[in-house]
Amino acid sequence: MSSRMFQSVIMQMKEASNRLIGVIDGEGNVIAASEPSGLGDRWEDAAHRLNSANEMVTVTGGKTFKALTNWSARFDYAVFVDGEDDLAKSLCIMACVALNGAKTNYEEKHDRATFVKNIITDNILPGDIYIHAKELHFVTDVPRAVFLIRQVDKVDVAAMDVLQNMFAEKQQDFVISVNETDIVLVRQVQPGSDGKELQSVAKAIEETLKSELFIKTVIGIGTVANHIRELADSYKEAQTAIEVGKVFDTEKSVINYENLGLGRLIYQLPTTLCEIFLSEVFKKNSIDSLDQETLYTINKFFENNLNVSETSRKLFVHRNTLVYRLEKIKKITGLDLREFDHAIIFKVALMVKKYLDSREGPVRLG
């Protein structure tokens, strides 16, 4: 149980009263207090009195105590207020109400977050999911999106604080740290939410982390899970999105699994098959004999829908220069990019090559 949580409630109370207010644990250790001086003290005597008392409040040593609710015979936390008068008693009772609420909330949230973490990491038996969901009053069949937020270049632990505060709806949003670089957000969404909405949530995360902490991220988004048992798959998809994106969409910082297109397909092919395909399309190593400028030209030609005039304008070259380059490519590879079928093969082959390169560094074909 976090003493920070108690401390933050106590600090809010401090604004309403200048009496010393605080919390002790089951052994009498002062774990939260409105004045920092008392922190760390140990009042065994008071703890002993509390465990044997059955009045509304316990008065001892110039202070008034009241135990927080729990299910055991011994108290686990108790609130205390300086003084033995009626005001101390009222304050003590009221503080107890507030702290009880905060404690329940914290426990629920904490347990639920652990529960969600166990689900996405496949750390729970399918049958147990339903039992736990019931115990935690966790709605099983609402749509939820999974975002995997990965910090790149630099890592800042405060990213977790930022995300938890961005998504503070305790019943609906779960922010879970999975390892040093990765944070997962599981967020309840409206039925029928589309990729655009998820994209803008991801963009907001990205830009908030950038402006608050100057950290760069890539964010993978899985398919919306309509049932908690689908959350684990959605998380895996978010991971795949980042992996595949790293190969094919290097300029994108937000990648949705649903928009991976050809990349997803190619990513699942065995590498030997890819190599066979490449050597079939490009005889005698021909793809490696294309230089950077030619590859750039080819990509621009694809971007401009195989339109020669448009592409030459974008490249600031004369139409004839572009035609000449295309002829050269045809001579080297046997593929005429102005023809739709050839263009498709080339496009796929370039992606396959990107994929193989990412797997094992540049491949040599013979």
Binding site: V162, T208, S211, T250, E251, K314
Partner: protein, 375 residues
């Protein structure tokens, strides 16, 4: 002092994309400078390099005269503002603005002082106890700016901060940002793809295309003296008309230009201050692109009287009344041109009408290099 200097900066991504090429710029202390250009032209990449979120492939970046290529973002004394800002929903405005400072372990009274000062500048002191849900769109924007202001940065980097707003709020925020810049008295580097935004906000504008700076100048100068066809058509709305295949000829010591096509065309004498420039004379007998801004073509009687020598006939292809002005879409041969005229115009679709233009405000471009030849 908070100047930013970029010298021969390049950004090359893996895979051969050159996002920024030979970028040179001196941003002066307290300047409001704008980077503008179509999507994908390298604006955000440039901003991220200034922020330190993107490595600089080549070239040098100086902030306040200090070489900053390898200085981590946190130590650059900058603040970034984006379009997709998110406020912390359960925090008050005060807490929203102080959160970043708290993460950086700024002392409490220092936080209080800075938040109060920023709130005063933004005129949101009365909102400090509110939660974001109880704020209007404009107020939320100001809180988002407040989060940047409390850092006391030397330089503000703003990447399309207004793109997600509706038209009305966007206009309002433009003028608020301009005012804010004056009050804060620090350097702003502002990125947008919207030329109207650029023209209304910046004291200087950098026009970019395909990672290359095209022109750096004041809004007025960009409008009046664009260096090339791209800047000419990108700046101004509606876009400058490009009459391609126009021909320059010479007679009696004057220069004439013919535009339209074989079936329908017009020949007018160019004013000597344009037509007799040496660079223009070099193009006599050749094709050029004639650039005329829509607001410089007129069908009103007063102009037809004042500029009779530039009169020509055109077919009205479409009429678009906008209230304060009317746009006429004209055909001269097969060339299209837009004219922005007085809303009292009687021109109707299909009409053949007489129009004239302010010939001293036209520009001529080389069709190959696309450079302006009358500067």
């Amino acid at each position: 002092m908070s100047s930013v200097t970029m010298k021969h900066i390049y950004k090359k991504y893996a895979g051969g994309v050159i996002a920024v090429t030979d970028f040179n710029l001196d941003v002066e202390d307290k300047e409001f400078i704008i980077l503008v250009g179509p999507s994908g032209c390298g604006k955000s990449t440039t901003l991220r390099m200034i922020a330190g979120l993107e490595e600089i492939s080549e070239g040098e970046l100086y902030i306040d005269g200090k070489l900053c290529n390898d200085v981590p973002p946190k130590e650059r004394d900058i603040a970034m503002v984006f379009q997709n800002y998110a406020l912390y929903p359960h925090m008050t405005v005060y807490e929203n603005m102080s959160f970043g400072l708290k993460l950086r372990k700024t002392p409490k009274d220092e936080i209080k002082r800075r938040v109060e000062e920023a709130a005063q500048i933004l005129e949101i002191e009365h909102l400090l106890d509110r939660k974001p849900a109880a704020l209007s769109g404009g107020q939320r924007q100001r809180v988002a700016l407040g989060r940047a202001i409390v850092r006391n940065p030397k330089v503000f980097l703003l990447d399309e901060p207004l793109s997600n707003l509706d038209a009305k709020l966007r206009t309002q925020m433009r003028s608020e940002l301009t005012k804010l810049h004056k009050r804060l008295d620090t350097t702003f580097i502002y990125v947008t793809h919207d030329q109207t935004e650029a023209m209304t906000m910046g004291s200087r504008i950098v026009v970019m295309k395909d990672g290359i700076m095209q022109q750096v100048s004041t809004p007025q100068d960009l409008y009046q003296n664009p260096v090339n066809l791209f800047v000419a058509t990108f700046i101004g709305s509606p876009s400058m008309n490009k009459l391609e295949g126009s021909k320059l000829t010479e007679k009696d010591g004057h220069t004439y230009i013919t535009f339209g096509n074989e079936n329908e065309n017009a020949t007018v004498q160019l004013p000597d201050e344009i037509g007799r420039k040496p660079a223009v004379l070099e193009h006599i007998g050749k094709e050029v692109v004639l650039g005329i801004r829509p607001e410089h073509i007129h069908d009103e009687d007063i102009y037809l009287k004042n500029y009779p020598e530039y009169k020509f006939t055109a077919t009205v292809d479409n009429v678009e009344p906008l209230g304060a002005q009317t746009n006429l879409f004209l055909l001269i041969g097969d060339q299209q041109a837009t004219a922005v005229v007085d809303p009292t115009t009687t021109a109707k679709m299909g009409d053949r009408i007489e129009v004239t233009f302010e010939a001293d405000r036209v520009h001529l471009f080389d069709p190959e290099t696309e450079k302006c030849i009358d500067l």
